[in-house]
């Protein structure tokens, strides 16, 4: 059959991989299994965009025809050099939205924050960093207002990351203020992206943490009120391409399910202080768990019902007050 008579790239591929050696060769070059190749040919699987470009490289003698046929199924496919191609992350699956709504409606309030935030963060990490280039996603939460009814700081409450960021970083849980990217986003109630360490200089005195080469933050909003933000850090600069940024924004919208209504604050209540450098904070926060333990055990001795969550909130508030007394971090 003349190659020009193939109606689709899948049909062409199916013809080419009838030869088992050729099938294995192509699979090896694309670093996929032969079964995956067969699925493409049978139209039972959708290849990633980057794999389509690799396919062109593996079949240079059919490049022109392949580009023409692939473009029939994927309009806009031009065969452009790979470095200009973004593996555009797909939408958040509808099954995941359904799962989150189910979690919201069925999980006891005491466990809802942990359950939903974990599910969202794991899903987000899987979509945004499938190749483990190094990403950390943090839920940054407004601290309850002080006596003047103002929110004075934010706190990193849940973190999930791929290497080099450790799996569990809750013990790092740093307070953030006006000096930070998260503080900027919460104060202004709009997202901000720093593609590299040079951007943002002079706007706020953000201190970059180890391995962080790019960062972005997206507000978590509900009816115009704000609970905090979703902070994403990457080991690579220029990671936050438009489609990724849009996807993160959607995850930030999903985060609305994580918080209780009373944890969203009027923007006018946001009056963040400058917080101490995170290395200074770490020395204080090492005693967090012991303090929570003491508060809980004391409550039990007093025969008072005090949940782990309430005990944590009390101790976080104590730490906030202590840290607000320390010299703030202001980058020169």
């Amino acid at each position: 059959m003349a190659l020009e008579k193939y109606a689709s790239w899948r049909e062409l591929l199916g013809h080419l991989i009838r030869d088992t050696q050729e099938r294995q060769r192509i699979a090896n070059e694309l670093d996929i299994s032969t079964v995956t190749l067969t699925r493409w040919a049978n139209n039972t699987s959708q290849p990633r965009q980057t794999n389509l470009y690799h396919l062109l490289d593996a079949l240079p003698q059919h490049r022109t025809l392949l580009i023409e046929l692939i473009a029939k199924e994927f309009p806009g496919f031009t065969g452009a050099p790979l470095e200009h191609v973004e593996d555009a992350p797909p939408e958040i699956p509808s099954a995941f939205y359904a799962r989150m709504l189910n979690a919201y409606s069925t999980t006891p309030q005491s466990q809802r924050f942990w359950s939903i935030s974990n599910l969202i963060l794991q899903q987000a990490l899987g979509q945004l960093d499938p190749n483990h280039v190094g990403l950390a996603i943090t839920i940054v939460q407004c601290m309850p207002p002080s006596q003047d009814n103002k929110v004075r700081s934010l706190r990193e409450s849940v973190v999930r990351g791929t290497t080099p960021w450790d799996m569990h970083l809750e013990q790092r849980a740093i307070f953030l203020g006006e000096e930070s990217l998260a503080g900027y986003v919460v104060t202004h109630s709009r997202q901000r992206v720093l593609q590299n360490r040079i951007e943002g200089q002079g706007i706020f005195s953000a201190h970059w943490v180890e391995w962080e080469e790019g960062a972005a933050a997206y507000p978590i909003l509900r009816s115009g009120n704000i609970a905090g933000c979703l902070l994403v850090s990457c080991t690579q600069p220029n990671f936050f391409l438009p489609s990724r940024s849009l996807l993160i924004e959607k995850y930030a919208e999903l985060m609305t399910l994580v918080f209780e209504p009373e944890e969203f604050y009027d923007i006018r209540q946001i009056n963040l202080a400058f917080m101490p450098h995170y290395r200074t904070q770490e020395q204080y926060l090492q005693g967090f768990q012991q303090r929570v333990s003491q508060v809980m055990l004391q409550a039990m001795r007093d025969r008072q019902a005090l949940s782990y969550i309430k005990a944590q909130q009390m101790v976080w508030k104590q730490f906030e007050e202590e840290l607000l007394q320390l010299p703030p971090y202001i980058q020169e």
Binding site: A27, P90, N102, Q286, S293, M296, Y308, A311
Partner: protein
């Protein structure tokens, strides 16, 4: 038993009711185990010639997805009795573009719907939650059947941690008693699951060769790197298992809540000490 109206879940023998919280916990536990084992496998298996791997009772698919990601030329399949878990796992695989990860709804307590000699490696990690002494040999027979000759069969199980927290120890003892009442325990009169003592014999009696073992010890004492992860794991699982303990008549809602809060407080103390032991046993299918 699960209370879901999903017909597959009605047959779900897991002691924890199916829920989104359970799903989040399983995903989290998968990360804890992999970190504690220092990898997805107990040792660096030679997978250069492998084309297919099976995971038994995969839950939401965390292990399958990671194996698929690290081995793009291998078809990795996971199955679970829960359709909700499988639907979630499939959506997750699609969202991550893992075309070599596949999921099926299937019951590990029944004959597996795979042809003979389908997989180069079959893995079963911490399935004690739904197994019983009679089911183990039957499952291993099925695992041997679907594993290719000279393929690898790998079983990993655990005992409850050793700690200096009186509340944790009391809760753990209650869990073991509940398993005994439900006839799930291999040792009927002790305070252990006993499953780790079973693994070597199961593989040996099934004819496996070159059987090896590796023990993993996760030190989650206060101020260790693993404390937070294991703490979260037991914070959730000892919440999830409370309905089972009440159902087995071992405690009341009020008492278990009190004991649970005490456990959380003790685990956060600076002088908390705890170690969690796992055992992996693997062999070659003849």
């Amino acid at each position: 038993m699960a209370k879901s109206s999903d017909s597959s879940a009605e047959e779900n023998a897991f002691v924890i009711d199916e829920s989104s919280m359970e799903m989040a916990w399983l995903l989290n536990q998968n990360l804890v185990l992999t970190k504690g084992m220092e990898g997805l496998f107990p040792e660096k298996f030679d997978l250069s010639q492998a084309s297919s791997i099976l995971d038994i009772a995969c839950g939401p698919g965390g292990w399958v997805l990671e194996v698929a990601r690290e081995n793009p030329t291998i078809e990795v399949t996971g199955f679970d009795v829960s359709k909700q878990m499988i639907d979630y796992a499939r959506a997750h695989a699609k969202a991550r573009g893992l075309e070599n990860a596949h999921f099926e709804v299937m019951d590990a307590l029944k004959p597996l719907a795979f042809p003979e000699a389908s997989f180069d490696l079959v893995n079963a990690r911490t399935i004690v939650g739904f197994m019983n002494p009679q089911a183990w040999p039957l499952l291993v027979q099925e695992i041997v059947r679907v594993c290719r000759p000279q393929g690898i069969i790998c079983l990993t199980e655990f005992e409850l941690p050793l700690t200096n927290s009186p509340a944790f120890e009391q809760l753990s003892e209650m869990v073991v008693q509940a398993f005994q009442k439900a006839q799930r325990n291999y040792f009927p009169q002790t305070k252990y699951f006993g499953t780790t003592t079973l693994l070597n014999r199961l593989l040996r009696e099934s004819g496996c060769l070159d059987i090896k073992k590796k023990a993993h010890a996760i030190d989650f004492s206060a101020q260790t790197a693993d404390h937070e992860g294991v703490y979260q794991d037991y914070q959730i699982v000892y919440h999830l298992i409370q309905p089972f303990l009440i159902k087995m008549g071992l405690t009341t809602q009020e008492d278990i809540q009190w004991l649970y809060q005490k456990m959380l407080a003790e685990l956060l103390s600076d002088d908390f000490r705890g170690i969690w032991y796992y055992l992996s046993v693997w062999g070659q299918r003849p």
